[in-house]
Amino acid sequence: MVSVRIGALDRKLLRDIWHLRGQVLAVTAVVMCGIAVFLTMRGMVESLVDTRDRYYAEYRFADVFANVKRAPESVAARIAAMPGVRAVETGITLEVMLDVPDLAEPATAQLISLPDGGSPRLNRLHLRSGRTVAAGARDEVLASEAFARANRLEPGATITAVINGRRERLVIVGIAISPEFIYTLRPASGLPDDRRYGILWMSRAALENAYDMDGAFNRVALGLEPGASERDVITALDRLLERYGAIGAYGRGEHLSDKVIRDEIRQDSIYGGVISAIFLGVAAFIVHIVLSRLVAIQRDQLGVIKAFGYGNRAIAAHFVKLALLVVVSGTLLGIPVAAWLGEGLAAIYRDFFHFPHYEWQLSARGLAMSVAISAASAFTGAYVAVLGAIRLPPAEAMRPPTPARFRPGWIERAGFQRWLSMTERMVVRNLERRPWKGALSVLGLALAVAIIVVGRYGIDALDRIIDVQFRATLKDDITIELNNPRAAAAIEAIAQLPGVIRAEPFRAVPVRLRAGHREKRTAVIGFAAQGNLHALVDLDYRATPMPDEGIVLSTKLAGQLGLAIGDRFMVELLEGARRSEAVVLAATVDDLVGLGAYMSLPALNRLMHEPAETLSGAYLTVDPAARERLYRRLKEMPMVRGVSVKESMLANFRDVIARSLLVQTIANIVFASVIAFGVVYNSVRIALSERGNELASLRVLGFTHREVAAMLLGEQLVLVLVAIPLGFAVGAGICAMLVMALDAQETMRLPLVFSGRTFAFAFVIVATAAMLSAFAIWRRLRGLDLIAVLKTRE
C-alpha cells in the first residue's frame, strides 16, 4: 500500500491548529489587516509615483516655469540657447470670469493658449473626449476634466467668459487634462473648488488677438537637459526675463500641482508605514501569546517528543511552522482585501488627481516586503515562546510545572487590600503576577484605539484648518480680485454693489523674499490694520495685531528663511516699479495654510511707492438675500478677475472630503475592531485555558456562571479601561509624529488638535469589539466541564 507520508509532528501541527482555530483565526485576521494596509498604501504610493512619472515623461511636463508681463517671442530663441535647456514652450495665460450655466456664482478660469497647428512641445494635453480646438478658432475651448465634470459640461456645451472686458460665448469642443494640472488648485485660495475654478485651453492666435499679444508671450515653460542645474537655469532665466516683468521663475519644487502630489505621496507612505507597523507589531504579540500558551499546555508532550529523540531544531521548526502558516494565510487573504481597498482609494484619487489612466496596482516588491516583514514579526513572536520549549530538558518538561506563585502586589501592600473583595484580589494579583503580559495586552488594545484616533485625526485637523483659515482669519463672505491695482475709488464702487454690507480693500503683490542665500517666492497681502474682515490668527486662535510698519510672516516661512523677529531682509517686488526694498520682520503668525506674508495696506503701498489706498481686491460681507443680484453684477464687471464665495467653496470641499473619508473611516473601524477583538479574545481565551480548572472548581463550589465570568472578564475590563486612555495618548503621539514628518509641507500644516468626538468614537468601537469577544468567551464558559476538574491535576 502506498501512502503519502506526512511527518507525525506535522500531523500534530495540523491538529493543534484545528484545536486553536479561534485564536489562529484571530491572529490571521490581524495579519491580514496589517498586510492589507501595507499593500494598499504601498501600492498606492508606488502607483502614484509610477503614474506621475510616466505621465510627466510621456506628456513632457516642463522642469522650469516663468510668468512675465509681456515678452516678445524672439526671447524664446534666446531662452532655448541657454545652457541646459532642451525645449522651450511659450504661451499666453490669464484669468477670466466665467458665467457657467446652472451656476449662480461667477466662476474663474485660467485661460491657457494652445499653439496653432501642432501640439505643444511641453505640457502636452491628453484629450479625454471631443476634439482639440481648431487653429485660430476664437470661440472654441478645451475644458479641464475636473471643471467639466463638476459642472456636468460635455463637449458641445457653451459657457460665457468675460474676455478683455467683452462677454464672449465659448463652445467646449473637448475635455482635456494636462500634467500641469493633475491637481487643480487656484493659487492662494487654499482649497480646491472644481465647480468654480477650472482651466480652459484656447487657440493662441485667438488669445493674441483678444489681448493684443501678437508676437508676444506671458508664460514660458522649459524642459531641461538631463543633468542640467535647475538653479543655474532659473538664475539665467530670471536675468533674461527681468525687464519683461518676470515674477520669478520656479522649478517643479514650487509647482502647485506637483507639490500637492508630492505631499500626498509622502503622507501615504508615512501613514501606511505607521499603521502597518502597528498591525504587524500586534500580530507578533498575539502569535507570541498563543504560542507561549501552546508550549505551556504541551510541556509534557514536548518532553516526550524530545525523549524520543527529536532534536531542538525539529521542535523549533514545529512551532515556527505554525507561526508561518498564520502569516502566509494572513498574507494570502490580505491581497484581495488590499485590492478592494486599493481600488476604492484609487476611485477617490481619480476625483482629486487627473491622470490619463490611474489604477491601484499590486506591487511585487511590496508583496515580497510584506511577506518578509510579517514573517519577521511572526518569527519574533514565535521566537521567545519556542526558546522556552527547546530549553527545557526532557525530564523536566515531563514533570508538571511548579504551581504559580502569587504574592500581594504593590496595590495591596500600599494598603488598598481591605477595600478589595476576593474576586477583585484575584484580578489584581493575576495582573501583578505577570505585568508584562498585561502590559502587552494593554499596548495592543491601546494601538487599536490609536488607529481610530489617527484615522479620525485628519478630520479634526481639517476642521481646525478650515475654522482658523475661513472663520477666524478670513471673515468675509466673498473675496473679489481685481485684474489690475486700482485707486481708492474702486472700493467705493464695490461698496455700492447690491447686497454689500461691508467692503474692505486689500492689495496682493507678488514678491521674492531674500534673506542671505535663502529666498522664497510668495505674495504679500496688505490689508487694513483696523479692518474687520481679515485678521492674523494662529492655530490656537491667538490674534497678532497688524503692525503699522514692517512685515508679518507665517512662522513656517520665517523659519525657512532663517529669520527672527527684528531681522531686516530684502523684499523684491515683482510688480509695478519692481524694486528691492529692505523690510523688518515685525511679527510672525503660526498659521496653517500656505506661506503667507502680510503688511498693513498703507505700508505695502508705501513700499510700492504708490498711493496709500491702492487696492487689488476686496473682502465683502453680503446680505444673503441679495446674493443672486450681486453675482449677476459681478459677472459683468470688467475690472473683476476672480470671485471666491466662501460658503460654496467650503461646502464643495466638505463634500469631497466626506466622500474620500468614507472608505478610510470604514477601513479604520474594521481594522481597529479586528485588533481589539483579536487581543481581547486571545487574552481571555488563554486566561480561560490557564484558569479553566480554577473557574470550574468555583462553579462546583456554587459560584454562578455570572460570578465566574466576572472573575475572568474583570481582568480584561481592567486592561481595557487602562488601554483606552493610553490609546488616546498613543494615538495623539503618533499624530504628533505624523505632523512632524509632514512638517515639510507648504500647502497646509496640520495642527495637533483632537475633538471629543474622535475619542468618543475610538472608545465606542474598541469597547464594543472588546465586549463582543467577551461575549464569545461568556458562552464558552457555559461549556466548562465541572466534573473533569474533580479528577484532573492542572
Partner: protein, 243 residues
C-alpha cells in the same frame, strides 16, 4: 433492612431511587450506574468504596448536583435534583454542599484565609474563615499562598473552605489520593473532627479499603451497582488506620 434504616434512626437527607447513568462515548454506551437505591442520613460519615470505573464518582456527582441521572430520582430533603435547572443546581451546591477535590483545587492567587473567605462571602451563615482554618489545624498558616503550603496543608485548606459555609453535606472525592500516608491521615482526622463537631453529613469516595474503618457506614460499589452496605459497630479513629 436494619442497615438501610441506619444507625441514626432518623429521616434520610438524600433519597436516591432507581438511578441509572448512561454515558455515550462515541458509539459505545457506558452504564456507569444501574438502578441504584440509596439513602444518606443526617450527620453520618459514609465511605463509598470501589475500584476505579465502579461508578462511585458518578454517584457522588449526581448527589452533589454536578450531574443528572439518565433515569431515576434524587431528592435532597424536599428538593427534586433530577428536575432542577442549571441555576437551581448551582444554588443547591452553593447553599447545601461542600466539596473536597482530589487535587485540592485552591485558587493560587488567594491566601489560605482568602480561599476560605471566597466561599464564606457567598454563604448565608458561615463560620469565620479563620475559625474554619483553626478547625483544620492551620491557624498559623492563614496568610500563606497555596504555593507556600504542602499538599496535606493545601487539602486541609480545601476542607476548611468546604466546611466554612456549614454545608449540609460534605462530599470528598479521593481526598487523600494525592497525599502521602502521614498527610493523608491528618486530612482524615480533620474530616472526622468536622463530622463530629459540626455534625456534617460526610461522604468520602476512596478506593483505599483501609479508610472504611472510620466510617459509620461503608457502601461498596462495583460495576455501577451497590454491592454491599455495611455498618461499623465501632468506628476506628483515623489515628488507628494504616495502609
Amino acid at each position: 433492612m436494619q442497615v438501610q434504616n441506619g444507625c441514626m434512626g432518623n429521616k434520610p437527607v438524600f433519597r436516591v431511587r432507581g438511578v441509572s447513568k448512561v454515558y455515550r462515548m462515541g458509539e459505545v454506551e457506558v452504564h456507569a450506574l444501574r438502578e441504584v437505591d440509596l439513602d444518606l442520613y443526617a450527620g453520618e460519615f459514609v465511605v463509598l468504596l470501589g475500584a476505579s470505573g465502579s461508578g462511585k464518582s458518578t454517584l457522588l456527582n449526581i448527589v452533589g448536583g454536578l450531574d443528572v441521572p439518565t433515569a431515576g430520582e434524587v431528592h435532597y430533603l424536599d428538593h427534586d435534583l433530577t428536575a432542577a435547572t442549571d441555576e437551581a443546581l448551582t444554588r443547591f451546591r452553593r447553599e447545601h454542599v461542600g466539596f473536597v477535590f482530589q487535587f485540592y483545587n485552591l485558587i493560587p492567587s488567594l491566601t489560605a484565609l482568602e480561599n476560605v473567605s471566597l466561599v464564606t462571602e457567598i454563604a448565608a451563615r458561615p463560620l469565620a474563615p479563620d475559625e474554619a482554618l483553626r478547625l483544620v489545624g492551620l491557624g498559623d498558616r492563614l496568610n500563606h499562598f497555596p504555593a507556600q503550603l504542602s499538599g496535606g496543608e493545601q487539602q486541609r485548606v480545601a476542607v476548611a473552605r468546604a466546611v466554612a459555609k456549614r454545608p449540609d453535606v460534605l462530599l470528598c472525592d479521593e481526598p487523600t489520593g494525592a497525599l502521602d500516608f502521614a498527610s493523608g491521615k491528618v486530612v482524615l482526622e480533620v474530616l472526622d473532627r468536622v463530622n463530629r463537631e459540626l455534625g456534617t453529613t460526610t461522604v468520602v469516595i476512596t478506593h483505599n479499603a483501609a479508610i472504611a474503618a472510620m466510617a459509620d457506614r461503608v457502601i461498596h460499589i462495583g460495576s455501577g451497582r451497590i454491592a454491599e452496605i455495611g455498618a461499623n459497630a465501632a468506628k476506628a479513629s483515623p489515628a488507628e488506620l494504616s495502609w
